[in-house]
């Protein structure tokens, strides 16, 4: 009898039930879409922020940054230390290897350009876009190209395999009157000289415009330093620093064993630096604060913004659903009065109405969940051109939310109707 009545309502009042299910589907899809976007946005934005370039640099421990300044002056008096090129692959073997988006080695030396006045210039060897096969069997493509998304390149990016190809900074190219396709000769230490071909001219908007970039092997050969690099830039996905990360950055030894493990197993920039130090002999990895710090700030702001928008939309969806459910229950006053008049118990009426609404709610919720996934993917595809991860936390949250909201919308109004005399209700009050 109970189920026959429920089925009767569902079929005979299909329009009303459809409206309820539709509203619940709308609310559920809104909640699903927003929760998925909110939970996934951090990772997406983090990846976008990689366009600002490397957030970690590794330099030889004792030479560090002073060396750069020396080479500009052309003073080779200090003993210069280097990192080993052979260790580069191990960057992708650290605990947070998956968070390492790109890395590139640099070998910087000063060369003389033949046939030019004021010919001393800084020449940097690097990997533009190198393919690596790691001992772990992993294949990695990495290089400077992705770390310099802001370069405006005329011509083409240099090819690592092509020894002797060079990219020229716009300022140097203009000063020397060189264009793409031209050749020029540079001489490095002990009379080693090479002919280089300009394959691309870049405008970087910084002091890099006064440099020459060549494949790593070419630069090492010019300086007679095979297998050595002077610095490494690493671009890693990181978690914004918190109090623990700050304490760790000051003194790792001050952490307790448990804190140390939490810190080591979280993608803080300091933890990644520490792990890089472990694999690169005599290397000192440091966060580039301009990038690392700002990244954290923007990431946090974006997530907070999305959180607040999500809360607003959840509240809106919740109120919308419970509002409609209330309206539809009130509308059924006569029916409830009639049931009571012919002797139905309050509990039976409550169960009947609830069952009907909850069926509509479940159907609407399921449709809404999948529609919401669709919306989330549309947003992710349009904005970030990649799929958003479907978070398994979302279905239970949405289910609980929808059921609670439906109950909150229906139970008080049913109780209100039950508390009235059937005669009053039937009479239309």
């Amino acid at each position: 009898m109970f189920w026959r009545m429920v089925a009767g309502t569902l079929f005979r009042q299909s329009r009303k039930m459809l409206l309820i299910a539709l509203t619940i589907a709308l609310g559920a899809s809104l909640a699903t879409a927003m929760l998925n976007v909110m939970l996934g946005v951090g990772e997406k934005v983090n990846r976008e922020l990689k366009t600002f370039g490397a957030n970690i640099t590794i330099v030889p421990r004792d030479a560090s940054l002073i060396q750069d300044l020396y080479e500009v002056e052309g003073d080779e008096a200090l003993p210069v230390s280097y990192l080993q090129e052979s260790e580069l692959g191990s960057i992708k073997t650290i605990f947070w290897a998956h968070n390492i988006v790109d890395f590139a080695p640099y070998f910087t030396t000063t060369v003389q350009v033949d046939g030019q006045n004021d010919s001393s210039i800084s020449l940097t060897g690097t990997w533009f876009s190198q393919h690596l096969s790691l001992p772990t069997g992993e294949e990695v493509d990495t290089g400077m190209r992705n770390l310099r998304s802001w370069w405006e390149v005329t011509g083409a990016w240099a090819d690592d395999a092509q020894d002797g190809s060079a990219m020229l900074g716009a300022v140097v190219a203009e000063r020397w009157g060189l264009a793409v396709g031209d050749t020029f000769t540079v001489s490095g230490t002990e009379g080693r000289s090479r002919e280089l071909t300009v394959v691309g001219i870049f405008s970087a908007g910084s002091d890099e415009d006064e440099r020459i970039f060549v494949p790593l092997a070419t630069a090492q050969d010019l300086a007679d330093k095979t297998g050595l690099v002077s610095s490494i830039e690493v671009s890693a996905l990181t978690t914004p620093d918190n109090e623990l990360a700050q304490r760790a950055a000051q003194n790792i030894k001050a952490l307790s064993q448990q804190e140390y493990e939490t810190w080591y197993c979280t993608a803080y920039v300091s933890a990644i630096c520490y792990q890089l130090d472990e694999v690169i002999t005599d290397g000192a990895a440091r966060p580039v604060r301009q990038v690392a710090q700002s990244e954290g700030a923007i990431l946090e702001k974006t997530q907070l913004l999305m959180l607040l928008i999500t809360i607003l939309s959840l509240v809106g969806a919740a109120l919308g659903i419970s509002n409609l459910v209330t309206a539809s229950v009130m509308e059924r006053g006569r029916e409830i009065g009639l049931l009571k008049a012919i002797g139905a118990y309050d509990g039976a009426v409550l169960r009947l109405v609830l069952a009907e609404i909850l069926i509509a709610c479940v159907l609407g919720g399921i449709v809404g969940y999948f529609a919401g996934l669709g919306f989330a993917q549309i947003i992710a595809q349009t904005v970030f051109s990649s799929d958003i991860e479907i978070n398994s936390l979302v279905p239970p949250i949405v289910a609980v939310l929808v059921v609670l909201v439906t109950l909150a919308g229906s139970v008080p109004s049913i109780r209100l109707l039950l508390s009235l005399h059937p005669a009053e209700v039937l009479h239309g009050r």
Partner: protein, 431 residues
């Protein structure tokens, strides 16, 4: 005739108002749903319009996006040009303007770079510097790069002697880039240390100095006319500031500033325009965009904006449909009433007009409430996320009102039209 029109109008008003008042519980439901819709609409649209500005300011944590360098032929920026360029930057949007001077310096026999700057400004253009200790306040207080501090074991509070002058280290700078090997002094201390860097003649050789008092920030360091020195530009690469600093370390250059970092919170197009204006109006200065910051900011900001845009769009569409379904539910409940009125001889038009009147009242009241609540939401977002207040946009009132009246109107129209087209007898019978 006039009297009958008057009666008809007052009857119409009475119908609309009593319908709203008598059916209180239903109307509360309808009003609530309109208000939710209007709140979300006005709140999100306000946030959406404010995001570019607010986010743009957040991106200023990446530091300077415009640098001023001496133009070709000059070895440094003279104070007069600096003031001119400063005046060209939009005052309201400029976060900071930090001048820098560089010199080679020997500390404990090790070569480092000494930089003269304005600390109050440096805090704004380099917000990412980590300062262990404090920013210098008084003359004689300096900041030391992490690298130097580690090499010669300095901590905040230690004294440091640079070329026979005594200073007190108040803070250690960590930036992870070249600043770690710099010593930062105030401009006054810097010029005291390197009196030869004082500006005395403009690079093209004019010997008359600036009239006293014409430049406010730097007038204290302008020497009286007569103090001249040779400009030596043949061998300096003006584009690279370190080179400039190093090659001008001799005593022969006239000097002012080597580099000015500016952090301006405007769009890239406006920045381009700004660069063009400065280059044209101040020939002594070559303005350059910091492409790493400006280009990347463009990319990321565009993504974030389209994210907020799409999210807003999805929420708005879903919410509006939700409002519409609630209105439809409330209206279809009144099928009997419509049938009765038709049976009593009311025309379809008059019934539709009455429902439109009701939705107008609902839309306006709900919309007004929504504008207020939406502004509160936008204010809360702005305060929590960006720690700023936002201004109330008066345009939001008509916009929200029009949209909420339209949505309620349309949502009513559909079921009412459907009902009016059916024979009243069938409607009244409840079929």
């Amino acid at each position: 005739m006039a009297g009958s029109r008057h009666t008809r109008r007052s009857f119409y008003l009475k119908m609309v108002l009593t319908s709203l008042l008598r059916r209180r519980s239903r109307m509360v439901v309808a009003l609530l749903s309109v208000m939710i819709g209007a709140t979300i609409l006005s709140g999100l649209v306000t946030v959406y319009y404010d995001i570019p500005r607010q986010m743009g300011q957040e991106f200023r944590s990446y530091g300077a996006n415009l640098v001023l360098l001496p133009s070709n032929g000059g070895s440094s920026i003279n104070p007069e040009d600096f003031e001119k360029a400063k005046a060209l930057l939009p005052a309201g949007e400029t976060i900071g303007i930090t001048p820098f001077c560089y010199e080679n310096v020997l500390i404990n026999g090790q070569p480092y770079i000494a930089a003269g700057t304005e600390f109050a400004q440096a805090q704004t253009t380099s917000p990412y510097w980590l300062i262990e200790g404090a920013w210098p306040q008084a003359p004689g207080e300096i900041l030391v790069g992490r690298e130097i501090a580690e090499t010669i074991l300095l901590k905040p509070g230690d004294p440091l002697t640079i070329e026979a002058n005594d200073y007190q280290v108040v803070g250690i700078v960590t930036s992870g880039s070249q600043e770690d090997a710099f010593v930062f002094l105030s401009l006054e201390d810097f010029y005291e240390l390197y009196p030869e860097r004082l500006f005395a003649a403009s690079p093209d050789g004019e010997t008359d100095g600036l009239p006293q008092g014409e430049t406010d920030g730097l007038s204290s360091i302008v020497l009286p006319p007569g103090h001249t020195s040779e400009s030596d530009c043949a061998s300096c690469h003006t584009e690279e500031f370190i080179n400039t600093a190093l090659s001008s370390s001799g005593t022969t250059t006239t000097a002012g500033l080597d580099l000015v970092e500016c952090s301006v919170s405007v769009s890239t197009d406006e920045l381009d325009a700004l660069v063009a204006t400065i280059a044209e109006d101040v020939p002594g200065i070559a303005p350059r965009l910091v492409k790493r910051v400006t280009q990347s900011e463009d990319t990321v900001l565009a993504k974030l904006q389209s994210l907020v845009y799409l999210v807003t769009l999805v929420i708005l569409v879903l919410t509006m449909i939700c409002v519409a379904t609630t209105m439809m539910a409330v209206v279809s409940e009144r099928r009997r009433e419509i049938g009765l009125r038709k049976a009593l001889g009311a025309s379809n038009l008059s019934i539709i007009m009455e429902f439109m009147g009701e939705s107008l009242v609902l839309g306006v009241i709900g919309g007004l409430g929504g504008v207020g609540l939406g502004f509160l939401f936008a204010q809360a977002v702005s305060a929590n996320v960006f720690s700023r207040t936002i201004e109330f946009q008066p345009l939001m009132i008509p916009f929200t009102l029009v949209v909420s009246v339209l949505v309620t109107g349309l949502a009513c129209l559909l079921p009412v039209r459907g009902t009016t087209q059916i024979d009243p007898a069938i409607v009244l019978k409840g079929e």
